[in-house]
């Protein structure tokens, strides 16, 4: 038996924030519960029946009291609601400069892919003091990524990207659990998160790197699976130019608009609920269902994400007439997304 710890480690910005809230809740509830218990015991003892024929004073109620103990708890509850909502809002909104790490869950392991190509299983190495955003998907059933020391938990669903973020504050080794029951070895779907000082982390990266970045793997796949045949840089292809697409609004032929995020791109590639994009009448894109693994999909998407804007200088004849042929509005791309395939994220 190990030493008795009654409190979990507190190792992220969110964990610090949540601790304050939690202990205020504990204090409020403990005070009220103790008051109720004392009053209950006091009454049971003070008014204990002495004579078996006793008939006590008959009191049927008091409207003022009723209103008081309806309104006062309601106000306290609204305070709890507000505080809870605020913390949730924070944990659901990753900062824009977050470092991206991809997580693929399957029965019963966690597969982690770093943008620079490092892969690990059941371990996750992250630097402290850096916001980290996890993009997660399951290959089979629903799993749940849970790091108690960071106080974060997020279900990992099949066919849908879920994200969660944290910023570790203390170097150390922390439990990683699957918190959604996922079958026989659910309790074995565990691992460790290593939060490291930036220098140690850099060392770890230098030791482990080598396969090339995730986006460059994606680029290879992009050509290998023939994506580039239609989605040509010059914009002459039967498919839309993908440069600068990521993160922007897309209007589908049905009139529906969607943000071209990871889930949208995944839907398009897997033939789920994507295109055709408005202006591309011939919906001829094949589905890649069963051909690309979840890890490969993430690589392709991170390649698309890393593509420069359509107005970039590297490709000739990108703007104007050619784009109009395919219904794409010139100038849709946003400056800033200039990194090309293989570039490491800014946070590094």
């Amino acid at each position: 038996m190990n030493s008795l710890d009654l409190l979990p480690p507190t190792a992220s910005t969110y964990a610090n924030q949540l601790n304050d809230f939690f202990w205020v809740m504990v204090a409020v509830c403990a005070v009220v519960a103790t008051a109720i218990a004392i009053f209950l015991i006091y009454c049971a003892v003070r008014y204990h029946r002495k004579d078996p024929d006793e008939l006590p004073e008959q009191i049927r109620g008091d409207n003022k009291l009723e209103i008081t103990w309806t309104v006062v708890p309601a106000i306290i509850f609204m305070g709890m609601f507000g505080w809870g909502a605020k913390t949730y809002f924070d944990v659901e909104q990753p900062p824009v400069n977050s470092m991206n790490i991809y997580v693929v869950a399957e029965q019963w392991m966690w597969k982690i892919q770093h943008p620079d190509g490092i892969r690990e299983i059941n371990t996750l190495h992250v630097p402290i003091d850096t916001p980290v955003r996890l993009t997660m998907i399951s290959q089979d059933v629903i799993h749940d990524f849970f790091v108690p020391a960071f106080r974060i938990k997020q279900d990992v669903l099949p066919r849908r990207y879920m994200t969660i973020w944290f910023q570790a504050t203390k170097a150390g080794k922390y439990h990683l659990f699957c918190a959604e029951y996922c079958g026989a070895k659910h309790a074995g779907m565990i691992g460790w998160v290593y939060a490291m000082n930036p220098a140690d982390y850099q060392q770890w990266v230098d030791r482990g790197g080598g396969e090339g970045s995730l986006a460059s793997t994606g680029e290879k796949l992009f050509h290998q699976f023939g994506c580039a045949n239609c989605h040509r840089y010059e914009g002459h292809g039967p498919g839309p130019d993908l440069r600068g697409l990521y993160g922007h609004q897309v209007t589908l032929a049905t009139g529906v608009t969607r943000i071209a995020d990871q889930t949208y791109l995944r839907d398009c590639i897997m033939g789920d609920k994507g295109g055709p994009v408005a202006g591309f009448r011939d919906h001829i894109m094949p589905t890649f269902q069963g051909q690309l693994s979840e890890e490969q999909l993430l690589a392709v998407i991170s390649y698309i994400q890393a593509m420069g804007p359509a107005t970039g200088t590297q490709t000739p004849s990108s703007a104007g007439t050619t784009l109009d042929d395919y219904g794409r509005q010139p100038g849709i791309a946003e400056p800033g997304a200039t990194s090309t395939a293989g570039t490491k994220p800014d946070s590094r």
């Binding site: 038996m1 190990n2 710890d5 009654l6 924030q17 949540l18 939690f22 809740m25 519960a33 109720i36 218990a37 009053f39 009454c43 049971a44 008014y47 204990h48 029946r49 024929d53 006793e54 008939l55 006590p56 004073e57 008959q58 009191i59 109620g61 008091d62 009291l65 309806t70 708890p73 509850f77 709890m80 609601f81 505080w83 809870g84 909502a85 913390t87 949730y88 924070d90 029965q107 089979d140 059933v141 629903i142 749940d144 849970f146 106080r151 974060i152 938990k153 997020q154 279900d155 669903l157 099949p158 849908r160 439990h175 659990f177 918190a179 029951y181 079958g183 026989a184 659910h186 309790a187």
Partner: protein, 541 residues
């Protein structure tokens, strides 16, 4: 004296007819209540054995007593049995069946044959589910989450689902019967606001049963359809949405929590009134609290899914509504407590259970406030914190209420008194054992111990050992009433019609009551719990 002799000669519902046929074909609500008591006691023991095996497995950090696969089947069996075959039917089908006609001054429920049919449905569903559990088991958890249950599990999901589907109809028909009885069969003068609060809470429960259970039935059918015919509803591989299942499941299963606890609240209202010799403080507020809990319970299902991919804003709406549903529960706790103030409080066993209920339900309710808080829920959901929370509500709340009610009305049901000292000792044993079992689980949950784990990190072993020790004590505490209540059935001293000198209509008929309850239909002129008005009859003051 003469009256007493005559009462002994008049056959009661137990002696009016003899033989096994007279039980299996009975339409008497009181006998049907006893059939249910026998059935749910059996299921409770079965679910309890599964729980005990789980707790024994968790004594050590590794999965050594049973294999993880077996452990998964154990917690599924425990959940399925305890939820659908014990907690949901517990009070309505036993005390509810026995008491609702007596309390409203009726000869029976509105549809006596349907009542018996409900019991047969219950037993049929029970046998089918037991078959599924015995012939290899089910490993989905009682929640049947997709796509695990529809695509990946290789166990007897379909059989179990069909069993629960059938038992759902028993619930629906019982609810329908009670609603009709309470609307149509009240004795002359028994207006809504003269009804005992037990009736109000069972009415609210019945409404939830009738409205929510069909959704469960449909959802279970969809699981069967997807598994058998490969129709894509929940499986993303067939174009379905696994989260849709969670919406449908919790649309039933959250209100179901109130099916479990509302009747217990009704029992506690009766107990605090009878053992303080006072009307429940703020009668109308307690009555409407039951109704508002039933209504709002339908709007909070999303709080089970705060980390399942809800949008931030819908999560906020569900969080808000979850706090709203806590208000009527708080109102009830305050009113029960205030009922004792300046009362004449006796410490008989049922009152010990009632006080225990108030304490444990308060803790269960307050930890619900933690879970309704979005940010905290992210950390504690799917951990032992949730396990502890809902056991405080369902065991500390619902089961304590059930046992309190069983002790309170046992003299009426059996005509005999149970041994009071032994009963008090076992009530205290249950209270201690319960807290020892489940309080450490709050700590485990905050530490991050996920639920449904057969093995766990060694640093948490100490808390698990305490919990297992508590569960052992709790098990003993539950066995004691089983033994002495059975003993009292045959050997207990005669109770007389009104051993507690309480006001309810049920106490004005002999114990055990005659077959048709009332020789003359009673005419009601008083509110419930009118101790001052019934001073002479009860020889008080």
């Amino acid at each position: 004296m003469i009256a007493k002799v005559r009462a002994a000669e008049t056959p009661n519902y137990l002696t009016a007819e003899q033989g096994i046929r007279s039980w299996l074909l009975t339409t008497d609500h009181k006998r049907i209540a006893l059939l249910y008591i026998a059935a749910i006691t059996f299921f409770f023991m079965l679910g309890g054995v599964a729980a005990l095996l789980m707790r024994l497995e968790l004594l050590t950090p590794t999965a050594d007593l049973v294999q993880p696969e077996t452990y998964n089947k154990l917690f599924t069996a425990h959940g399925v049995i305890m939820v659908w075959f014990f907690l949901i039917p517990s009070i309505p089908t036993t005390l509810g069946n026995f008491l609702i006609p007596l309390m409203v001054g009726a000869k029976d429920v509105a549809f006596p044959k349907l009542n018996l049919f409900s019991w047969y449905l219950f037993m049929t569903g029970g046998c089918i589910t037991l078959y599924a559990l015995a012939s290899g088991g089910v490993d989905t958890g009682w929640t049947f989450y997709t796509p695990f249950s529809t695509v990946y599990s290789t166990t007897h999901v379909i059989t179990a689902a069909i069993g629960i589907f059938i038992v759902g109809f028993s619930s629906i028909l019982t609810g329908l019967n009670f609603i009709t009885t309470i609307h149509r069969l009240r004795a002359p003068g028994l207006t809504w606001f003269r009804l005992p609060l037990f009736i109000w809470s069972n009415y609210a429960t019945s409404v939830v049963m009738v409205l929510a259970t069909p959704v469960l039935a449909i959802t279970l059918l969809m699981i069967v359809v997807e598994r058998v015919f490969q129709v894509g509803i929940f499986s993303p591989w067939l174009g379905g949405d696994p989260v849709l299942f969670q919406h449908l499941f919790w649309f039933y299963s959250h209100p179901a929590v109130y099916i479990m606890v509302l009747p217990s609240m009704g029992v506690v209202s009766e107990l605090v009134a009878a053992f303080s010799r006072r009307s429940v403080f703020g009668y109308t507020f307690v009555a409407f609290a039951s109704i508002s809990i039933a209504v709002i319970s339908f709007l909070v299902w999303g709080h089970h899914m705060f980390v399942a991919g809800l949008s931030v804003y819908s999560a906020m709406a569900f969080s808000f509504l979850s706090y709203l549903v806590a208000v009527p529960s708080a109102i009830k706790v305050f009113n029960w407590t205030a009922t004792l103030y300046k009362g004449s409080v006796s410490w008989d066993t049922p009152m010990l259970y009632a006080i225990g209920f108030i304490g444990l339900f308060t803790i269960g309710g307050m930890t619900g406030l933690f879970l309704a808080a979005l940010g905290i829920d992210v950390h504690v959901t799917d951990t032992y914190f949730v396990i502890a929370h809902f056991h405080y509500i369902m065991v500390g709340g619902a089961v304590m209420g059930y046992l309190g009610g069983l002790h309170y009305w046992w003299p009426k049901i059996s005509g005999r008194m149970y041994p009071e000292t032994l009963a008090k000792a076992s009530a205290l044993t249950i209270f201690l054992g319960f807290n020892l079992t489940f309080f450490p689980q709050f700590v485990l949950g905050w530490l991050g111990m996920p639920r449904r784990y057969a093995s766990y990190p060694p640093e948490w072993q100490f808390l698990h050992i305490i919990s297992t020790a508590g569960a052992t004590i709790l098990g003993v505490g539950y066995l004691l009433p089983l033994v002495y209540l059975t003993w009292a059935w045959k050997f207990g001293p005669s109770a007389g019609p009104n051993p507690w000198r309480a006001t309810g209509l049920e106490w004005q008929v002999p114990s055990p009551p005659p077959k048709h309850n009332f020789e003359v239909t009673p005419v009601i002129t008083r509110k419930a719990y009118d101790y001052a008005g019934m001073k002479e009859e009860l020889r008080l003051g």
